[in-house]
Amino acid sequence: MPDGSVIGPSSVVRGNVRGEGNLEILGRVEGDVSVTGDIVLGESAGVRGSLSGASITVAGQVQGDIRGSEAVLVEGGAKIIGDLLAPRIGVAAGALVKGNVRTEGEAPLGAGRRPVTQGLRSPSFAQKPVPAPAAAPAKAVEAPRAAPSEPEASEKPAAKKAEGERQAPPPVVPALAKGAKAKKKKQRE
């Protein structure tokens, strides 16, 4: 019978912890933790490494990815630098999370709900988290492209409607070089 394990508040593990059963971490772990049961991280706990388990409750600090086959619950006061991945994810007020958060994986409540939740998930993730980081690099990438490459540049932004409409005008206008290039062409011809 796999009984629950405890890493006490004054205990430090430098290495990996893996196995069966539930695990309560009150101390520190510098390494990866992987168990088949649930993981509870107390307020005093700190983990530098990935956490993998069924249901993972975090009230302490984690620097690493957290992957729950059932759920990841982040309590107030918790501090996480790393990605969260589980079918169910809860983040309480007062928790600090820095990383990618994804609710996916095998949903334990049967297949009936999955299409609905997936349908709701994909657009909301496409709109919320993606544009913020993606918009900035997209401008930087497309602007220089528009300037040097001549006629194709005007076609590319048009094709990428959503991104192109806002970003196209500024680079296109200074790309009055088009006129100059056209002149060059005429000269060649």
């Binding site: 009984d3 394990s5 405890v6 006490g8 508040p9 004054s10 912890v17 196995g19 695990l23 101390g27």
Partner: protein, 104 residues
């Protein structure tokens, strides 16, 4: 008292350092150091050097043991390694292979 409990089925690979009681019913590979007692249960397997105040072995231990107070090797327990402790008991039915230094 909470302490640290490595339950049956759990494996720690690496150093385990504690300032509290450590109970091992699972397995520990690496190094086990505490300022308190260490207890290896009948299902416990430790392949590590152990340092602590006292050590009780009912499972299997492979590694050198240093205890500031005592080492108790219980019946069914198995210890392979050198023991350094001021007190040592070996119960009938226990297995032991190694040197003993009682700091005489």
């Amino acid at each position: 008292m909470a302490g640290t409990l490595i339950g049956d089925g759990l494996t720690v690979e690496g150093d385990l350092t504690a300032e509290e009681e450590v109970v091992v019913n699972g397995s520990v590979r690496g190094k086990l150091t505490t300022t308190d007692a260490v207890s290896v249960g009948s299902s416990g397997v430790v392949e590590a050097d152990i340092t602590g105040v006292s050590l009780s072995v009912a499972g299997q231990v492979t590694g050198d043991v240093t205890a500031s107070e005592r080492v108790d090797l219980q019946s069914g327990g198995r210890l392979i390694g050198d023991v350094k402790a001021s007190r040592l008991t070996i119960a009938d039915g226990a297995s032991f292979k190694g040197n003993v230094d009682m700091d005489v």
